[in-house]
């Protein structure tokens, strides 16, 4: 097949013409594909401008050198920053962050699953109201809501005061791991509830009834029918909670203390306190890669099982 149509026609028109030996159907399909590419252009341009280019800049900085005063020297490229990723301190902070992310995801699932299931059994009107209530906190800024938690958890705040009033002694909540997990669960629970609700809503209850009719106990019906059918929602919800909590910055920074440094704060401290942009960039790239691989593996495993 010749690559180009006979000359003369302007380039834009030329490719609209059927090519030699091409069926009209294929030509139409090719045209549709081209229109599709045109429609995809704005999102591709946006992603390039706001994601690919900044990421490329981070990648470039990760191979640069930290100057004496902390200014990044572009040139003299090296992988010293990546060599530091294996340091015990880095592994400790990454491990701690993973722990918080897994714990937060597990708690969100335990709270979110029964709630989403209960929602699907409500009348349509109640569901709509409840869904709005789940999403309502998003209408105000996360920073403001986290500061509200600071007030609630502070030593002179209502929760420790109630605790003391009951004669249970002094309660210190702010700047503790408990405060961090509480803040993370609070912030990301909706990301678990919404996909679970979407999955459970599509569940055909007659399948559960059929299982019960065939002699399955309530637990067995859940274990072998409801749970497998809702798994796409569980997977989506877990990824939506786990990935952002792993790199969370605002919540651990405001509610956590001296023993709860997570990767988000650790990276920020490289850029500000240490003025070590190459190491901060290398850390960011490593975290991105880790999350990408983890997510892909997780989806694959779930697909295999389903």
């Amino acid at each position: 097949m010749r690559a180009t149509a006979p000359g003369g026609a302007p380039a834009a028109l030329r490719s609209d013409l059927p090519r030699d030996g091409e069926s009209p159907e294929r030509a139409a399909a090719r045209l549709a594909a081209r229109r599709g590419a045109l429609i995809a252009l704005p999102p591709i341009a946006t992603m390039t401008l706001l994601f690919v280019i900044p990421l490329a800049i981070v990648a470039v900085y990760s191979f640069a050198t930290r100057g004496r005063t902390g200014r990044t020297v572009l040139g003299d490229w090296n992988i010293a920053a990546y060599a530091r990723l294996g340091e015990p301190l880095v592994l400790e902070v990454v491990g701690r962050s993973l722990g918080y992310a897994v714990l937060t995801t597990a708690i969100c699932l335990v709270i979110g699953y029964p709630f989403a299931y209960w929602l699907t059994t409500r009348p349509m009107r109640v569901r709509a109201v409840m869904i709005v209530l789940v999403m309502l906190p998003f209408w105000s800024n996360l920073l403001v809501r986290t500061y509200a938690w600071r007030v609630l958890l502070a030593s002179d705040g209502p929760i420790p005061a109630a605790f003391a009033a009951l004669g249970l002694g002094e309660l210190r909540l702010l700047f503790t791991p408990f405060a961090v997990v509480l803040g993370l669960v609070y912030g990301y629970l909706p990301f678990m509830v919404l996909p679970l609700y979407a999955a459970l809503e599509r569940l055909d209850l007659r399948l559960v009834e059929a299982a019960r009719d065939l002699g399955a106990s309530g637990w067995e019906a859940f274990r072998h029918v409801t749970w497998p059918l809702s798994r796409p929602g569980v997977v989506a919800g877990s990824v939506l909670v786990m990935v952002p909590t792993f790199g969370a910055y605002v919540t651990p920074e405001l509610l956590g203390g001296s023993r709860t440094t997570l990767v988000g704060s650790f990276v920020v401290r490289q850029f500000l306190s240490a003025r070590d942009w190459p190491f901060g960039s290398a850390l960011s790239m490593a975290i991105l890669l880790l999350m990408l691989v983890a997510t892909v593996v997780y989806f694959r495993l779930q697909e295999d099982r389903a």
Binding site: T69, G70, E92, S155, D156, G256, G257, S258, F266, D276
Partner: protein, 365 residues
């Protein structure tokens, strides 16, 4: 190529614009040789990048009214934030207010304009001990704005009269048994400096084993440290979240205003003294307005108003006569001679600087 007269006109215009841009760029590169500014001269609005809540509310309106220009303010909360914003150039600010060590970094990185001291006649108002600081000899690139000390805010209502000592945050026998927790600044030099003072070592040490000892002390203190916090420590102290907080004198005194049971102490082992200084960015769009602003702040009555508003001592000798004697005689604001003898500036440790940040992050992450 042939050009019609009309086209030629456009070509000339393009060349002229290019030449202007080139001239502007050259001016930016060779800022020291920029046009001379006269005292009181303004060349546009002032773009001020300063610490949050660091000027009295009358200063900016008074400057705007006197010179008929606008002041656009933007704020930062740490020297590191300032450095991150301006080190790449093109930040678009005129005047910034870095602390002593940050002035040195910015001079070394070429971020600051060399001052035209003739355009700042009120430099004569500075106290003698502020005219030749170690971080910027001869005030060539910066002019002291305010100074202060870094010490401990203490809930004396709860702890009673305590010895002014770093033991309050580092000694397991003292800090470990307090009826509450402590907070330390999120700042490598300040925290390791405090630990070095407590150990009786030089806060500007370049000895690896001495620094390691200090880092070990900081790591041990994690057990009773609630947070590393440079932004809200005074609020956490007042609200009872912590009982001892490491921080800057003026912030504590402002937070303690009208409250009983709190005190600011300068530890007897020694502590940090610092200066925040006004400086002009090398690529400042309005360098003459910037010089005039610095001169304006150095007026006696402006210096006095600043100190009376934020309780940091003034480097301005002429201002002292106008400052409320209650503030002048308050040892928490103006340290006594005995205290002053124990104060040390944090100095550049050269290539060792990165060891401070690395060991601090290791001890606290």
């Amino acid at each position: 190529m042939r050009t019609t007269p009309k086209h030629r006109g456009r070509t000339v215009a393009v060349l002229a614009v290019t030449a202007l841009i080139a001239a502007a760029c050259a001016g930016g590169d060779d800022a020291g040789g920029a046009a001379t500014c006269e005292p009181g001269q303004v060349d546009g609005d002032l773009l001020l990048y300063n610490w949050t809540d660091y000027v009295d509310p009358e200063l900016v309106p008074a400057f705007e009214a006197e010179y008929g220009i606008e002041v656009v303010e933007d704020f930062y909360t740490s020297n590191e934030e300032l450095l991150a914003r301006v080190s790449a150039g093109g930040a678009g600010y005129d005047v910034v207010v870095p602390s002593d060590y940050a002035v040195r970094i910015m001079v070394e990185e070429g971020s600051l304009l060399e001052l035209q001291q003739d355009a700042i006649p009120n430099l004569a108002n500075l106290r003698d001990d502020f005219t030749d600081p170690a971080y910027d000899p001869g005030n060539a690139h910066s002019v002291p704005f305010l100074w202060g000390t870094t010490g401990l805010g203490v809930n004396v209502g709860l702890l009673g009269d305590v010895e002014p000592s770093w033991a309050l945050v580092f000694d397991p026998e003292v800090a470990g048994t307090l009826p509450g927790r402590v907070s330390l600044l999120d700042d490598p030099r300040e925290v390791l400096g405090a630990a070095l003072h407590y150990l009786g070592l030089d806060p500007n040490t370049t000895d690896e084993s001495e620094l390691q000892q200090a880092a070990d002390l900081v790591a041990q203190a994690r057990e009773w440290t609630a947070a590393y916090d440079s932004g809200t420590y005074q609020d956490n102290l007042v609200s009872g979240e912590v009982v001892v907080a490491h921080g800057y004198s003026g912030n504590f005194l402002e937070a303690f205003d009208g409250l009983e049971g709190f005190a600011y102490l300068v530890p007897e082992e020694g502590a940090t003294v610092w200066t925040d200084a006004m400086a002009i960015l090398a690529d400042a769009p309005h360098p003459c307005t910037a010089h005039t602003f610095i001169d304006f702040v150095l007026r006696a009555e402006r210096g006095a108003a600043l100190t009376e508003y934020i309780y940091y001592p003034s480097p301005n000798a002429a201002a002292e006569a106008l400052i409320d004697t209650e503030i002048l005689e308050d040892p928490a604001v103006y340290p006594s001679a005995a205290t002053q003898a124990r104060l040390r500036f944090l100095q550049d440790t050269g290539d060792f600087e990165t060891r401070y940040t690395d060991l601090f992050l290791q001890a606290t992450s």
